[in-house]
């Protein structure tokens, strides 16, 4: 089985957002980066599918030199190959998808995994864009994948419940937390990953279709009032919710 997993290098979720001087992106100074958390789940699932069916896992990441850090982590977790699709410029989702689709096509994977969304821009577009560009079906927000005989029976999250989706391979899967518990790279894995090569390709060119006009912080919410310090505050809280906020 040929498995590909597409991963992204993003600011740590504990990052405090500071808008950069351009007014269009984050001030990158002092930000710690990490593999997007849903992508870790995708890498873990790729490894489990490989170990069950035998085969090879290739991790791909589109971005600049720094994305190698996240590719190294994937190698340390156990993927077989890593490819950096290089572009120093920031791309929109369409641009990322064009780059990934062009690199994935010659690999002809049976299974392509993504995280359900990347926690930087939260567009939740790239996985499905790639699937459509490659003419493949996709299953989003997946929490269970059972594969056999060229088919996959998946469970995915929907509003207030779950949906079972059947798909045929090759297919794209977008991993949600709960699909598995991602492994921590072993010390041996980390050491081995340092010496594994990361293939570099220039990312296929793409037109930008969505432009950012401004980035700003949401309006700060003013601290409200402290209604009390024990259960005697409850009647007043209920009154405020009914009469002032009118939400219950």
């Amino acid at each position: 089985m040929k498995i590909a997993v597409c991963i992204n290098h993003v600011p740590d979720s504990e990052t405090k957002a500071k808008i950069g001087a351009d007014g269009l992106s984050l001030d990158r100074a002092g930000i710690n980066y990490m593999m997007s958390p849903y992508d870790e789940v995708a890498v873990e699932e790729a490894l489990r599918i490989r170990d069950k069916f035998t085969g090879e896992v290739t991790a791909l990441s589109l971005g600049n030199e720094k994305n190698k850090e996240t590719l190294r982590k994937a190698l340390a977790m156990g993927v077989d190959k890593a490819i950096l699709l290089k572009d120093d410029a920031e791309r929109d989702s369409h641009g990322v998808a064009v780059g990934l689709a062009a690199a994935l096509k010659p690999l002809a994977p049976d299974v392509i995994l993504f995280g359900k969304q990347s926690i930087d821009y939260d567009n939740a577009q790239v996985g499905v864009l790639v699937a459509e560009m490659l003419g493949m079906p996709s299953v989003g927000v997946v929490i269970k994948i059972d594969m056999q005989d060229g088919k996959a029976v998946c469970v995915r999250e929907i509003e207030g419940g779950h949906e079972t989706v059947e798909t045929r391979l090759p297919s794209v899967f977008l991993a949600q937390k709960g699909l598995n518990e991602p492994r921590y790279p072993s010390l041996k894995g980390i050491m081995a990953a340092k010496n594994k090569p990361i293939e570099e390709q220039t990312a296929a060119a793409a037109e930008r279709l969505v432009e950012t006009l401004a980035m700003r912080k949401p309006p700060a919410k003013a601290a409200g009032r402290i209604v009390g310090t024990d259960k005697t505050a409850v009647p007043e809280l209920i009154r405020l919710l009914r009469e002032e906020a009118k939400v219950i």
Partner: protein, 323 residues
């Protein structure tokens, strides 16, 4: 040019988030002087289509085919893109529901369109749409503009009002032929919990964190949620600890929510949690630490013990609300 808006139905019931999207689409169409057409796909859905007129559709095109009885993202995307092409629609709106998030990128590729996802505000400038969308889990807001000829937008549920104004709309049928190749992924079963709304759609969310001290104490959260008809939410700490399922997690690595009322119980308010719920209309925080960041953004705070306050709040609300 026309505006086409996709309405999602499950079991032949149109979802509330789609009513919101149709109304927002109509408002945008009016501002741009365009016709607002809705498209509905499924099997036996003709009867429910006309009602979309009450949310602003001037006519409704149904793709009604027995093969669409079970939802397939691949077939449904083909239906939407075919109708858009036939109508010459330059703008498309879809709800940013789980179904919409599956469909919109496919439709965008088929129409060579740019896609702005999970928008929370739409405004018109120079006869063009500027959309506002959150990024980094809600820590920042982006204003974006799509530069391609055809433009696709998905709208976050629970943000735009679903005002009813107008009559049922005329319904037309589109004839689209589907083959086996269109059904790459098919839904074979749907399990939806009855009675409890999802955090992304809920009007009220009661959320618990580490301050609950043990998973069994979430019964206090559930009782309060029950009385309010609210969804149950959770902080990352308690989800990571295995106390609560991940689909309840609110925050940057969980769900970003916009309810009318968010009640945070025993949640101190990590940056990534605050980002995910800061767009709630009203926030109540119950926390015994007066320095907890969540109290800085709460409209109403009680600095006290959740184990004392929650049972009292639940009991009194039961009386007040007559439950």
């Amino acid at each position: 040019m026309k505006l086409l808006v996709f309405a999602e139905q499950r079991d032949n019931v149109i979802k509330k988030s789609s009513c919101e999207t149709v109304r927002a689409a109509r408002n945008a169409a009016d501002a741009l002087g365009l016709e607002c057409i809705a498209v509905l796909a499924g099997s036996g859905v003709e009867g429910i289509a006309g009602a979309l007129g009450r949310y602003g559709a001037s006519r409704v095109i149904v793709v009604d085919d027995p093969s669409l009885a079970a939802h397939s993202s691949t077939a449904c995307a083909k239906a939407i893109a075919s109708v858009a092409a036939a109508e010459g629609a330059g703008l498309l709106f879809l709800p940013a529901s789980q179904m919409g998030k599956d469909l919109a990128p496919r439709v965008a590729v088929k129409l060579n369109a740019g896609l702005a996802s999970d928008c929370i505000a739409i405004r018109i400038e120079n006869r063009d749409i500027i959309a506002t969308r959150p990024a980094y889990g809600g820590k920042v807001m982006l204003d974006v503009r799509i530069t391609s000829a055809v433009k696709v937008f998905t709208l976050r549920p629970n943000v735009f009002p679903a005002e009813v104004d107008g009559e049922n709309a005329p319904v037309q049928k589109a004839e689209i032929t589907f083959g086996p190749e269109d059904f790459g992924a098919v839904v074979t079963r749907v399990d939806v919990a009855v009675g409890r709304p999802d955090v992304t759609e809920a009007d009220i969310i009661v959320s618990g964190g580490r301050g609950l001290k043990a998973p069994e104490h979430f019964a206090l959260i559930e009782s309060l949620a029950e009385v309010l008809g609210a969804a149950v939410g959770a902080s990352r700490a308690v989800v990571d600890a295995g106390w609560r399922p991940h689909d309840e997690q609110v925050g940057q690595t969980g769900k970003t929510v916009s309810p009318s009322l968010y009640i945070a119980c025993g949640i101190s308010g990590a940056i990534q949690h605050l980002a995910g719920m800061s767009s709630s209309k009203y926030i109540v925080a119950i926390n015994k630490d007066k320095n907890a960041p969540i109290l800085q953004m709460a409209d109403y705070g009680i600095v006290g013990d959740v184990f004392e306050i929650l049972p009292e709040l639940t009991a009194q609300l039961k009386q007040v609300l007559g439950k």
